[in-house]
Point group: D2
Chain length 392, copies 4
């Protein structure tokens, strides 16, 4: 899988990030720990220089894990020393960026590991299946959203990526959002109804993708004896939890599901836009209700809705929610100055925005304005679906 990287590479790359963007920028008389590491562990920063070819990341048997760990300790010590000397005004901002970056790779490390294990016929288990509470199914309901002028984008003093700014006005049509995420049980109905074999539901590129790759179900679903579906997870291969949110679906699948569901339910269903999502999700955060199934819950899988509260549930955590918005610059967008300007802006083409964080995301990493993005065919992330419905 060309998108995934080995665990050791992730560890080395986040170390590289601190060395390059903190130490090199702020340390007097900076010298790199090892010159070749600058090439080996640079992901995509052209301004920093050469990069090791991405598909060869799996071939980097040297440096050894012990050497990478030693490098990390040395970089940590130097960053600590810098922070204690503490004069540069922007140093703390850069260390914050390094930590946010590392949080992103903590999530990628889990998604890459899940993919790696999924390719292994031994079906390795990362962590035993936790004991989960009995699920109480919650019927799908529609939570109306007012339209009109609203404002989205990052506000306040906290950390945000450049792509969340500037805060700006947008005009929304009224609509309704599903009260919860689409479940695996609902998705199984889509599969059973030949949803993956009917071009009516699919974008043209999605249909090509389904045909070319022989896609029949979410990434880690597997047929068990008797045709029953099972799911490969970080807990190994387990029965499908019907009330848990569906996960590891692409934008193509999410969009096709919405079109199928619209026909089934005779409602103008679709995926929400990112502005609709943020407009609905921001008040929850402001009210201290941005809780959810994040990596700290240690579930490492999606969980059924807890309880039967009214309003919007599962907006944060569980799965990254595909929107129907292209990942594009906000009006007035400016990339950060310097090489860190390559962090986000240069990827703003042919990618789709996802919102809300997942069961593999650190809770402190997520904001209402947070924009994740992946190509329409990506599905090794913990990505899922919340439906929207046009107001009549």
């Amino acid at each position: 899988m060309p998108d995934a990287s080995p665990v050791k590479w992730h560890l080395a790359h986040v170390t590289w990030f601190f060395e390059t963007f903190v130490l090199e920028a702020f340390e007097a008389g900076f010298r790199p720990h090892h010159p070749a590491y600058r090439v080996l562990f640079n992901s995509y920063y052209q301004a920093v220089g050469e990069r090791h070819p991405r598909p060869q990341r799996g071939l980097v048997t040297r440096p050894s894990l012990a050497e990478v760990l030693a490098w990390r300790r040395a970089v940590d010590d130097r960053v600590q020393a810098l922070l204690h000397s503490g004069t540069a005004p922007t140093l703390a901002e850069r260390v914050e960026l390094g930590l946010q970056h590392e949080q992103q790779h903590q999530e990628l490390l889990l998604t890459d590991l899940l993919h790696l294990f999924s390719c292994n016929p031994l079906a390795p288990v990362y962590r035993p299946l936790p004991l989960l509470p009995e699920a109480v199914p919650l019927p799908l309901a529609w939570v109306p959203q007012q339209g009109g002028l609203t404002t989205i984008g990052h506000a306040g003093d906290g950390f945000a990526f450049d792509n969340e700014t500037p805060r700006h006005r947008v005009y929304l049509q009224p609509c309704a959002l599903a009260n919860r995420l689409t479940t695996q049980g609902e998705w199984a109905d889509f599969v059973a109804d030949a949803g993956y074999r009917d071009p009516r539901w699919w974008l043209a590129a999605g249909w090509d993708w389904v045909q070319a790759q022989g896609i029949e179900a979410p990434l880690y679903w597997r047929r068990a004896e008797g045709g029953r579906w099972e799911e490969f997870t970080l807990h190994g291969q387990v029965s499908l939890a019907p009330h848990a949110p569906v996960v590891h679906v692409s934008l193509y699948e999410a969009d096709a599901y919405a079109r199928w569901a619209a026909a089934e339910q005779r409602l103008p269903l679709r995926l929400p836009t990112e502005a609709e999502w943020e407009h609905a999700a921001a008040p929850l955060a402001a009210a201290g209700m941005a809780n959810g199934n994040f990596v700290e819950s240690q579930a490492l899988q999606t969980l059924p809705v807890a309880g039967t509260a009214p309003g919007l549930l599962q907006m944060y955590g569980d799965v990254w929610e595909w929107t129907r918005s292209a990942y594009l610059p906000y009006p007035g967008f400016r990339v950060w100055a310097g090489a860190v300007g390559e962090y986000n802006g240069k990827f703003m083409i042919d990618q789709t925005v996802l919102r809300g964080g997942s069961c593999a995301t650190p809770r402190s990493h997520i904001r209402a304005s947070y924009r994740n993005f992946f190509p329409a065919g990506a599905r090794w992330q913990f990505s899922g679906v919340r439906l929207a419905c046009d107001a009549e």
Copy 2:
């Protein structure tokens, strides 16, 4: 070039369109002219049935041109007969759609022919170079655009494609638009300044594209003796007209040019959004000023600005203007019912909107709300650039 089709195929396909969407829908006791033609000349309508593989269009030596022309005459006669009988209320709408469709293929036919000839070392000439008036260069100037709430999308009774609807409100930031299109002379400065070799200006996917394909200039630019640029056109290989709009550039190039120009001019330059474009262009059409260099001028190439009028020039005709908007459904969008619903909606992913028509477009085909769309790397169309500038 997998995107291009032979001339005979275009002729047969537009005939197929009338046969399938007019005759089959409205003719009593309909029988197709030849059953195999329904497969051979179906472009992408899944609901109509099987299609001949697109890359094999060049291999269809049978039916012969004479047979296709005979088919066309027969279909024309049957459509005429239907129109004279004239009872079905929606028949005229379908014939209108067939005509609009044929206008699109008239443009494609020219762009495909240009590409075909460009691959031939004989450099064939489609039509001799017309005698053009002396060009008076017009300096680039910025025409301010007010922001605020506005409305875009098709209005009124005339024909429009489903993707132009529904008309809806959007909120715009204030900005300025360039008074004219970017010229070939300006683009030559970008090339001379190593713009195609500096990753700073490029989207990541654009940089990969430039590197992988060895792109160095617009599609049909060629180095002549002494390093001077020439251009392959439907008039053969000719000197570059420096004051004519640059053409045959991809979205990647358009976006990179804007970033380079922003650095050169120390202005927040960028491509416009489609809403900004339409908001500025609609009043021109309403005022009867949607003139421009369309296919009827018979120039078949871009032309320098005529005169030095203030305000926005060249908004219509000359080149399709790349916007920085993804081709996505408008709020409340519904596809047309039936197989014609595949016309537009299923392509709404990973494509970018272009506006305004080109020197190969029939004048009557264009509206302020017209949305053309192509992938970010496409450049065999007559596509060019108008810059926008953020208001400070």
Copy 3:
């Protein structure tokens, strides 16, 4: 199909061959008919200069057919004039080479046309099916071949390609050759016995090829209603003639068939080597018995054995017989001097030798020493199978 070329290209290329290797070499004050044709219609001669990319041959809509025909007439006239002036000693040899070359392209033209028509859902007919005599099936029998020292390679004064020389000694083990070619009926048994789905019979590369391309039968076999096999030919789609030789099979298929037949018949069956074939075939030619179903018979398809004569039948014509010999230089092989040295020698790697000519080959083109060669997966030629059997 990247191996096939359009008819007009073949016509132009054989004209190019005469212009380049006859006129340019022998005509005083030679000037090419059109400089660009030298690039457009050069197949693979590096020493002659640039070549037009092979996959773009289908895009050469200019020069028109009329222009190519005019070129051909002009070249013919100039060659005639040269022959009448007639002084250069090697001129006749070169004209002979040009004629032999043209014979090869006459065969390729038919095989390429068959392939082109086979891709067309209209299933065009090149020529109506001839009325064929009733076939009398001839049982397979083994004709013993003595081993020992023998001599192969071209002998005598007639024309031969460089790859047939020098004549040299080889040592052969005794074996037996099948009295006739493998028939379509026999091949249908192989198909029915799941021969294409059992890796035991296949070379590893052949098995990969079968799997990757979903091969289930010879190239032009097609399932008709009821599961019956039909065959696409230059006469359109017709019933499979069970007693006619199987044709359009690759070396992979030929080799797999031999291994399956060996298991079926409990005999050490295999394909013959080219030396074994030539050793057996040369006496027939010497005895004036090199007759067969060549292009002059106008059948344009394989024919059942005529009569029940003892000895080796169908050695010449009908199908090119796959051998189990790699196409390699004979001991002491020297390529021709000059650019014509690229005719054969540079292809001597990873190709397999075929012998005997086919129903699309001109009769005068074939010799016992003639070596045809194609990659192991090629099957759009009229290629088939004669089995050999080790002597116990």
Copy 4:
């Protein structure tokens, strides 16, 4: 590199071989150590069942190295127990085959490791450069070889692979063989003379390969400061030893070099056939002179000729010598019965024979009749060149 496998995989695969072909065949009540290992570590034996996709070998992070080592110890114990019980007559033969197979993988392990390290910008060192004796250059000389009828193939009671049998007669033309291997200094002259940029020397497929992959020198040659050549080896990146045999060249390069050398020296030079090589090499082995630079010398690189003895030097060890013989079945060849029959026979297409073993081959593994084989573009093995010359 799709041809190379990780070290752990090699270890597991040779263990799998013993488990599958010794234990499963001979152990009463056999049960595999772990059922999934049978799939994971099966290289290409269809008859044994499913195999893990080769390109995914690098992704097998489970089982861990400790688990593989434990498996190996368990299999070793069970094989020992079987040997002590010792009743089956063919058991010793199968264990011998397992050992021969393991010797092959010992060599592959070194060549794969060298390739892996060569991709790492850290240029890891497998073992420090040994202190080598001063090289005394030996001029190239020609050792005449009589032609006529000879016999090749395995003789005697010792172990041999099926592909070396049956022993059979061949007729050879007289020729001469180079007294030593082609050196790196000689090869540097070929490079300096633009040998990689002149299509005259190359097979057509070789020229395509050179162009498509940008090949300029042997696989591990690298330009150092000042244009001087260095070489990446298992001892890291070192100066080129001019008198040591050139190594890591493909058949394409070897063949091109021979053609260039022929033009340079105005001699009919070429690569030898495998029969010529064996005919010359067998007497050396019979005379106890099959010594050479094998893995036991611990040089792990090619070494200059030691001394100035007359006759053929370096026939064994140093490099696998490319022949100009396709890897094809000998007359009367029979594959081994059962799944081990897939060991050699099914690869007999489009591969070329190499002879003599290399500096990474165990000495006891090599025989005069030993046939190694690789595709014409392979060069990560220790492969080199000995020239042959036609007798006039």
